[in-house]
């Protein structure tokens, strides 16, 4: 990236708002992590950042670099795919572990085993 390359206003606005949107979603998720009561609720909060928030940042990146290099830059798609594949694994592991423990402890917040 060179400093003196003139970025169009449109590009700047689009990129900026996408980035802000992503950062805002991630911040909201973080806030939720802090505020929400139960583990299962908090889990939802984190997904904001990893799905839509991450997506906005990636789109911003694709758009920005495509304009900058005047060719389509789509590396970010790989990141998207990897994120899509791996995030569910970790979340599911967490939820399963929590659910298992709650059931063993006989917590009334979770439905009993089928």
């Amino acid at each position: 990236m060179t400093d003196d390359s003139p970025l169009g206003l449109v590009t700047a606005v689009v990129t900026g708002s996408l980035l802000l949107l992503g950062a805002g979603l991630a911040a909201t998720g973080a806030l939720g992590l802090l505020r929400l009561g139960s583990f299962y609720e908090r889990l939802h909060a984190t997904t904001l950042g990893t799905t839509l928030g991450m997506g906005s940042v990636l789109i911003a990146s694709m758009f920005f670099f495509s304009v900058l290099q005047t060719r389509p830059v789509i590396h970010e798609l790989v990141i998207t795919v990897v994120m899509m594949v791996t995030t569910p694994i970790s979340l599911m592991l967490l939820v399963r572990a929590a659910l298992y423990r709650d059931r063993r402890e006989g917590s009334r917040e979770v439905p009993p085993a089928p």
Partner: protein, 987 residues
């Protein structure tokens, strides 16, 4: 005479051949008795013939010399130097070796692992030859220690017998300690003479005598020679070493090992002798050894013990001759060395035959064997007569020479006493007595009644070496000038040069004083034997008068003190079994040293102005720092949380690397973090739980003070590290190594990724060392975990496994192990799908490593992550039923591959690990850069992958094994499964 003449190459061949033979013999199957014997015999004979050829050159033209570069930067060359003395000794070593091999073939039992024996024997022969023909002091010391080592292995050949182990250990302790003294003495001598080359040293005689360090060098060198040649007071190891198989005794303790010390004294005789110090030390030690050895030998009941003490006594005789500072004595010493080797080796072999046939070596039980093995008896009789110094045998001639020199030598004794002739006669009488005892006690008298097996003649081939040696005794005894004359002349001349005295090698000198002395000694010896009959019959073990004076007991006490009491008390004072004090000590030492360095050299300001603080990076660092602090705070009671926060700190480090444009480091850091976290997580389960109950009441004061101190140490160390890093980062030396690397990475290493080029090319040797260490660490981890017994409270199965077992017990067979599988169905499916993707990514990282971020290390870690995910999600048993990783092969293969790539450079005439790069045209892809460094990187990859997976598997198997160790549960679940993710598709 430097440069490689044919003769010098033959000499090199003679030295190298036994080692090659040893290697080959060692690789033979355990019971390949004949093959090993043939090989060993051929090698010994080959070396012998090579030395014969060299001998021709030596007689014709002086010294054969070969000089090869060894450590040119230190001025050390590998020098082989064969003169008369060296060649004659070398011929003795190899010729005797061939005879011993033949003898050993029949002596060793069929069930013994004979190839090992011959391998050690050949290696020993090579080391002995090395001592003899080395032309460099350091090299002599090197081969000297090699002989100590191989003699240790030979003596301890029957290592299942405690006495053999003890004897071998004692021999090694004494001779190797002497070897160290010898080495230091050589260093002093080389310092005095101005070089380690033997020719330089031998040419600096007057300089050495005059130097103030001469006594130091002399004492140290003599310590080495005396320990090796079993001189009083270091003689005690030799009788203990008689636990060796008899061929070893015949070889080591008559002809070779113990003669090394004598050889060395003869070798350095021209430059070390001629002073009072030499006369008193060498002469006294020799005289005492001569008398004491002969005296003790009379009272030995073990045939080999008798021979051992007799050997000690004869070595004392040779040493005494060397100490006398007369040229004639020198000739006599060499002569007696050769004679002693022949008759003593044959006597040892005869003793071995007797033991082989009767099953015992105890003179008190043996008797009358003359009727059962008449031929062996005749041979032993002749050899023993040579030992006693009976006329017409070789022992007689050298004894005459000894008497002659004893009469003429100057003795700087007060009062004009002449002790030497008396000593000589008394010692000779003793030797007559023990020779008589050997023969009379064993072969004459009534038939033996108390032997384990009834004896008969041994196989003819086993007797052949004895026959040859006895023949040599007789031939030399009858026709000395025609047989041994030329050899002796060449050997003596090479030591004495111009000053070689006139001596006559004839049997009959007329009625001279030495002859009278001989006669007196013979008569005295026979009388003594008759007089001692009664005492010897009683079979008492203790030697009269000298029983209390046991050097061996002193040695044992010293060993117990050193290796047991002293070690224990030092351990008590300085040692600890707890981890905390050890760590504290390590950290404190590092702190003190670093502080001292800063204090002594001073710390100035750097020459680079620090850049502005970037707020974003500052925030990131704040997060990292809080993670680290949080980890420290929670580490005691909440290990899991601490681990998570440690990961957070690691990620911040990783981001910092990215921030400062170090993608390679960032990538590596990221993967290391992942793998470390996972491995630590797996280990967590085995740590004992800590209870938070004690927090309520206040801790005692001393504990709080201790904690405060530990906190202080930790904080100081951390701040110190930070300060050190800061100090390094704010200065830029004018000549930075990094600039050199940056400039040459592409032109000389053929890669644009400088980090990778440094790792695999510029500093490839370092990397090779590092991966070797990694290998060792992984193997150590594996070994430690194999024997790991977890704390009792963590042996209990986790809830999930218990549930699984209960479920398995309740449900029919096909549903076994399904509980967790059902729980983690989706993650494990995705995880399985990820396996090929991660694998491809690893290969991608490996291949692009030379030019872009990546490389073998990162690729190896990535690939291991792929495996780790499978283990975690699918369970140990499921994975191992499908993928066998065989980490040891990966590691070994990787190491071999990396080293092999380095060695490959040799074949193109470049130094080790020189890398080649160029471009290769591939179909479809076109021209791609190719460097041999990539091959090296593949080796790194395989090793890192194997090492990581090995540690993982070691941890994973813990959970399987820990479960099996619980017998109560085994009863309910005969085939337990690993429940952390069990099979999904195998039913």
């Amino acid at each position: 005479m430097s440069g490689a003449t044919i003769d010098s190459l033959l000499l090199l061949g003679a030295v190298v051949l036994p080692f090659i033979g040893a290697l080959a013999a060692g690789l033979l199957p355990t019971h390949a008795r004949n093959a090993a014997a043939w090989l060993a015999g051929a090698v010994s004979l080959g070396a012998f013939l090579l030395l014969c050829t060299v001998y021709q050159a030596v007689t014709a033209g002086g010294v054969v010399r070969l000089e090869l570069e060894w450590m040119p930067s230190l001025g050390l060359a590998f020098v082989l130097r064969a003169d008369g003395l060296a060649t004659v000794f070398g011929g003795l070593v190899t010729g005797m070796g061939a005879l011993v091999v033949l003898y050993a073939r029949y002596y060793m039992a069929a069930e013994d692992p004979v190839p090992r024996f011959f391998a050690f024997l050949l290696a020993f022969m090579g080391s002995m030859l090395g001592i003899v023909v080395s032309g460099n002091l350091v090299q002599i010391a090197f081969f000297w220690e090699l002989t100590s080592l191989f003699s240790f292995l030979l003596i301890a050949y029957r290592h299942h017998i405690a006495a053999a182990r003890d004897g071998a250990r004692m021999a090694l302790t004494v001779t190797a300690a002497g070897g160290l003294a010898l080495f230091s003495g050589f260093l002093v001598l080389g310092h005095i003479a101005g070089g380690f080359d033997l020719d330089v040293v031998l040419g600096a005689g007057s300089q050495i005598h005059a130097h103030p360090l001469y006594p130091v060098a002399l004492i140290l060198i003599l310590l080495g020679a005396f320990t090796k040649s079993a001189q009083f007071p270091f003689h005690f190891w030799l009788p203990q070493a008689m636990t060796a198989p008899t061929p070893v005794s015949a070889y080591l303790h008559s002809a070779t090992l113990v003669k090394a010390g004598v050889f060395l004294m003869a070798r350095l005789w021209p430059v070390l002798s001629g002073t009072d110090a030499w006369f008193w030390t060498v002469g006294t030690a020799g005289a005492i050894t001569l008398l004491v050895g002969a005296y003790i030998a009379i009272f030995q009941h073990d045939l080999k013990g008798l021979l051992a003490y007799s050997t000690i006594s004869h070595l004392g005789l040779i040493t005494l001759l060397l100490g006398l500072d007369s040229e004639l004595a020198m000739v006599a010493a060499i002569f007696h060395t050769l004679n002693h080797a022949t008759f003593k080796a044959s006597l040892f072999m005869a003793a071995g035959i007797i033991e082989h046939e009767t099953g015992t070596r105890d003179i008190r039980r043996l008797s009358g064997l003359n009727r059962f093995m008449p031929f062996t008896a005749r041979l032993a009789l002749v050899a023993a007569a040579a030992m006693a110094g009976v006329p017409l045998l070789n022992g007689f001639l050298s004894k005459e020479m000894f008497f002659a020199t004893a009469l003429t030598a100057d003795e700087p004794l007060p009062l004009g006493l002449k002790l030497l002739p008396v000593t000589a006669v008394v010692a000779s009488a003793f030797s007559v007595t023990y020779s008589l005892r050997f023969i009379h006690g064993t072969f004459f008298g009534p038939d033996p009644t108390d032997v384990p097996s009834m004896p008969h003649e041994p196989p003819a081939w086993m007797r052949l070496p004895v026959e040859l040696l006895v023949l040599a005794c007789i031939m030399v005894g009858v026709l000395p000038a025609a047989t041994i004359g030329p050899l002796l002349d060449v050997a003596a001349r090479s030591v004495l040069g111009e000053t070689t005295p006139e001596y006559s090698l004839v049997v009959w000198h007329g009625l001279t004083r030495p002859l009278v002395m001989s006669t007196i000694a013979l008569a005295l010896g026979v009388t003594l034997y008759l007089a001692l009959q009664r005492h010897l019959r009683r079979g008492v073990e203790i030697v009269p008068f000298l029983g209390a004076l046991s050097a061996r007991r002193l040695f044992d006490r010293a060993m117990v003190f050193l290796s047991w009491r002293l070690a224990r008390s030092i351990d008590r004072v300085f040692g600890t079994r707890r981890l905390q004090p050890q760590l504290r000590l390590v950290v404190c030492v590092a702190l003190v040293l670093a502080a001292a360095a800063a204090f002594v050299r001073g710390v100035g300001p750097g020459n680079i102005a620090p850049s502005e603080v970037d707020p974003v990076l500052a925030i990131v660092w704040a997060i990292g720092a809080s993670c680290a602090l949080g980890a420290a705070v929670t580490a005691k009671l909440h290990r899991f949380a601490a681990l998570v926060m440690l990961g957070g700190a690691g990620i911040v480090t990783c981001i910092t690397f990215v921030w400062f444009s170090a993608p390679d480091l960032a990538l590596t850091q990221l993967l290391v973090e992942i793998v470390t976290t996972v491995l630590l997580l797996l280990g967590l389960r085995w740590l004992p739980q800590r209870k938070d109950g004690a927090g309520a009441q206040r801790r005692p004061l001393i504990e709080r003070v201790g904690r405060l101190r530990d906190f202080g140490i930790a904080a100081t160390a951390g701040v110190g590290m930070a300060a050190l890093a800061y100090a390094v980062m704010v200065r830029m030396p004018p000549e930075l190594l990094a600039q050199h690397y940056l400039a040459r990475a592409y032109t000389e290493g053929g890669g644009t990724n400088v980090v990778n080029v440094i790792l695999v090319d510029f500093r490839g040797f370092d990397t090779l060392g590092e991966i070797t260490v990694l290998c060792a660490v992984a193997l150590t981890t594996y070994a430690l975990l194999r024997r790991f017994r977890p704390a009792p409270e963590s042996v209990q199965l986790p809830a999930q496994q218990l549930d699984q077992i209960a479920l398995d017990a309740a449900r029919p067979e096909p549903r076994r192990g399904r509980l967790v599988a059902d729980w983690l169905l989706v993650p494990s499916l995705i995880g399985r799908l990820l396996f090929p993707a991660i694998g491809i990514f690893a290969v991608f990282l490996l291949l692009r490593g030379h030019d872009e971020p990546g490389g073998g290390f990162v690729a190896g870690l990535t690939a291991s992550v792929a495996i780790i995910i499978q283990y975690m999600l699918m369970g140990t048993e499921w994975v191992e039923a499908r993928v066998r990783v065989l980490p040891l092969r990966w590691m070994g293969g990787g190491l071999l591959f990396a080293a092999g790539t380095g060695i490959g450079a040799w074949f193109f005439g470049y130094p080790f690990l020189t890398s080649y790069f160029g471009y290769v045209r591939l179909p479809l892809v076109g021209e791609v850069p190719a460097a041999s460094a990539l091959l090296f990187d593949i080796g790194v990859f395989a090793l890192v992958f194997g090492a990581t997976v090995l540690m993982l598997i070691a941890l994973a198997h813990q959970s399987v094994r820990g479960r099996r160790a619980t017998p109560a549960l085994d009863a309910t679940a005969p085939s337990p499964r690993v429940a952390v993710g069990a099979a999904t598709g195998d039913d």
